[in-house]
Amino acid sequence: MLTQMIPEIGHYALVIALLLAVIQAVMPLAGAATRRPLWMAYARPMATGQFLFVAIAYACLTTSYMLDDFSVANVANNSNSMLPWYYKFSAVWGNHEGSVLLWSLMLAGWGYAAASFSRELPRDMVARVLGVMGLVCVGFLLFILVTSNPFERLLPHMPADGADLNPLLQDIGLILHPPMLYMGYVGFSVVFAFAIAALLGGRLDAAWARWARPWTNLAWACLTVGIALGSWWAYYELGWGGWWFWDPVENASLLPWLTGTALMHSLAVTEKRGAFKSWTLLLAITTFSLSLLGTFLVRSGVLTSVHAFANDPSRGFFILMLLGITVGLSLLIFALRAPRVSHKVGFSWLSRDALLLINNLMLVIMTVTVLLGTVYPLLLDALDLGKISVGPPYFNALFVPLTLIMSVFMGLGPISRWKETAPSLLVRRLWLAAVVAVVLGAALPLIFAERWSAPVAVGLIAALWIVLPMLRDLYDKIRRASTLGAGLKKLSLAYWGMQLGHLGVAVTIVGVAVVSNYNIERNVRMGPGDSVQVAGYTFTMIELTDRRGANFLADRAVIEVQRGDSNRRFTMNPEKRLYLATGMPMTQVALRPGLFRDLYVAMGEDLGDGSWAMRVQYKPFVRWLWLGALLMSIGGVLAVADKRYRRMATAPDPEETALKPAGGDRGKEATA
């Protein structure tokens, strides 16, 4: 009896969560405006309660999936009794309604976290931050309840079995990628709320920046991993070995990442130097707005892709309204209040401040170019000016040179000083790194590859130019200490975070440069006994078999691979699956991963005469793409663990490290 009511309980919990969110939005904001502590005190319990009830709703939906309750429309459309339990669990977010519910759950979760870890913040700041987050929650809970109720029933005509989850989504990628990506998207709501709170309260000092930085880093780290997971998933799941398509949906996740990266760096300047205040606020607003724009693009059905589940115009309209209200209101508040918090600080043209400004500019230019390429076709279509698409050449033509320009400044940034850096110092510390980067970068492809490639050399030079100055800096810092251990101990976690983050960028650049230029792809016709040579590996098809999986039938090829003349052999088993419930075919790639190369074999199509079209690929350094992203996010998390954020928890001292003169404790400073 009780199990039959689960969907209704979930629905009811959502309604309660919405009411709590309304109170969370109204009372603390009103309390902060009128200085009433009692009203402000509503913020924390409401945030907690809201999270609890959204979690109940989410648990109810998950239970319906687990129990195969096909009377719930959402379950019937996206699950099947044959589906393994872990896919039932993740199928919850493999569709529009469920993924918006997950979005809201995470939003409420971040709100709860902000409420829990803000004991040391001034009362009115907490009230405003949680109030703004409450407002965002109201928007999304309304969106769910009004347009995308996941608990809708199919009574009394409930289907005997579900329509099944899209086979493309039946993969570990679905379990990992969306939650991570959403954590990132939604996480930027916290820094957004901090920005609005700063504007409303008129308080924006080093302490504010120090509160906002960990939240930004965490959200950014999640988004980085989420994007990398998406790329990795597309790489092996779509069956043709691409890892970035400049698909509008991918771009939608890249946009907040770019401005989020700019925001992290701008926050560093705001904390250390008290500069770029308005700019930081604007970036916080922009980043969250782009997260919303991404949600709009993906959820409204204006795009057709594997990500767009539903084409319901009312939903698109609702999110567009939400986006419009958020952007409009926050920009209005910004315009009215920003002059109050802004503050002019002078700096020289050769200083870490200026270099970070350039970094920010580059990132914003990248954002604009990607945004333009993504939205331009949609705008033309909406205005009835023709159907066009903007292809990868456009994005590559702009994004690659911009990245290279930025890496030039990335080499300079970490070793320069705040406020002013003597050119002679930079030259003295960097000339060797520059020479080594150019020589090594140009020589490495000559030594290790069969043919020299200019783009690879440029990519390697850029990566080395990012890494070598950092090594030099590390060396200088440790050299000054009495022992190696003491030197290492003095370096802060924030410094290591910066080092790792930048190393990650370099690693990703290497991966992109090498795999884009040394990738070998052969599309061949193969039958049993046929073999093909790719990059020194011999791929021989031994036989074609078939097998039956839990919910699919598969044609399976057994491919034996031999490297050069050596006797070491191994087999790879690509499959072409036919999913029974939907009748959809799917390519299951066989991968032989390695740090320096991936071997990639996919079955294309049955050519009818006993042979198959096979796609055989040699992908050098492809893992470096995702490895770099992983390093970046570890760097982001490491910086959060820095002791100055923890010290804040015990002894709040806003002015402590805020405006130390340049050249003081360099370990603590090096956090850009």
């Binding site: 170019t369 333009l372 076709p377 599309n523 390519t587 079209a613």
Partner: protein, 177 residues
Amino acid sequence: MTLSLTPKRKQKLYVILGLVALAAIAVGLTLYALRANINLFFSPVQIAAGEAPIERQIRAGGMVREGTVVRNPDSLDVEFTVTDYVDDLRVHYSGILPDLFREGQGVVVVGQLQQSGYLKADQVLARHDENYMPPEVAQALEEAGYKPEDFQQKAADVAKRLEAEDANGDSATSSSY
């Protein structure tokens, strides 16, 4: 009028000038890159009317007409006809067709239209579309003065018939395409 330029103001001025210059360069480059890299969509009826440029990257689309897929037995070259049920477009492609490519289903091809009238495709995109006809194609039909609903229906009928045939055959070796 004398404008006193304190160092701070001077710096501010340079920042703003630099921003404007950078923004102008960025927008200029972007628009240039955009012009060179946009792919316009054409449906068979538009291509038959001579609206599409020759030997420039375009996108075209429609339904794969049943019984027109011809494979070269020695290579991965394949030819097929894309139709909007008014006009046809012959497509040449070399490589692996996507999983969802089937006769009677909607496809979008990216490639260059050749002098002799066929399209040399670099890329074939298939989609399992419950509308049975890509919306671009339906719109192009409407603009050419046809009633897209009639052709939608025709496309749906063909697709359903093929699907039914598929289901009747041995589904594990459904290699009719």
